[in-house]
Symmetry: C2
Subunit: 147 residues, 2 copies
DNA sequence: TGTAAACCCGACAAAAACGATCGGGATTCT
DNA sequence: AGAATCCCGATCGTTTTTGTCGGGTTTACA
């Protein structure tokens, strides 16, 4: 289980924009200090724009900027914009080839649903401004003894 | 972010073994009812064996069996055996090419570490026997108001 | 009004990862 | 000895990833 560079670069770009938030559009060249392949980054910013997370201004003096306040943009949205929704098994979100022979009562399905839900919730709790402020609280762990 | 079929098939295989736990070694053919490509599954069971999660008996009447009790085998171990450790960015676990130009104070690094820790903890809490019993409790969410 | 600075977009391509398949070797039960 | 098994490395086609490229469009500004 890994994150592709798409998700990684995308988050870097969003952090960059969050830091410059309020300073007007940032041109692609301004992202240069991130040391990412420029033409590739341009593509990724396109995905972020189509997902509604960044806005663009075209023409001279144009560039990219956050389309919302940093406290209203979550890691989940960013990663989903770059990599599509989290999916452990297709049978959870879409139709699959017979997932396993116990089709009806596939015991793994519950696991995929549980994990998908928990991880999406986790990612959805972290905002861009949390990242800038390094405000990452560990979850108060397992609620009580299983006994 | 997705899970490859390796992780998926691997978990299916482990669930299969857990259900037959105590019934002696299960031959590759016995897994047939899972409808997975047999030769591929054989490879995957090799990984699970090398990770210490299953044991094998060779020769006639041989096969695969869990090398521990189902309550002592976690989803994290299984997925790590099949797909390697969870990694969001290489800079968290290993050396990376300059991660981003703000090398020293890369604000994304904290995110990767946080996510890696939380998700590993989540995966580590689910055991094979939890899966059989469908015992998947949602985490008691964010501890208290952020205020 | 012209031109340069930007973003926009689709096509293409190399490289890596994925999802297997295959053939033969090593064990072990009977 | 022979059959049932697991073991292992090589190979291979497909898909995904990670880019590159070329040309088009928009717009500020002189």
């Amino acid at each position: 289980m890994r994150l592709s560079t798409k998700g990684k670069y995308g988050l870097y770009a969003m952090i960059f924009l969050a830091r410059r938030h309020g300073e007007g559009p940032q041109s692609l060249k301004a992202f240069g200090e991130l040391n990412l392949p420029e033409a590739y980054l341009e593509q990724l910013l396109g995905s972020l724009r189509r997902a509604g997370l960044v806005s663009t201004v075209r023409g001279t003096q144009g560039g990219y900027l956050l389309s919302r306040e940093p406290e209203n943009i979550t890691v989940r949205e960013m990663l989903e914009a770059m990599e599509g929704p989290l999916r452990f098994a297709d049978c959870v979100t879409e139709s699959d080839r017979p997932p396993c022979a116990h089709s009806g009562d596939c015991p793994a399905r519950g696991v995929w649903e549980y994990l998908t839900g928990e991880i999406n919730a986790l990612l959805g709790r972290i905002t861009l401004s949390d990242i800038l402020r390094q405000n990452l609280r560990p979850i108060e762990n397992v609620t009580e003894e299983t006994k």
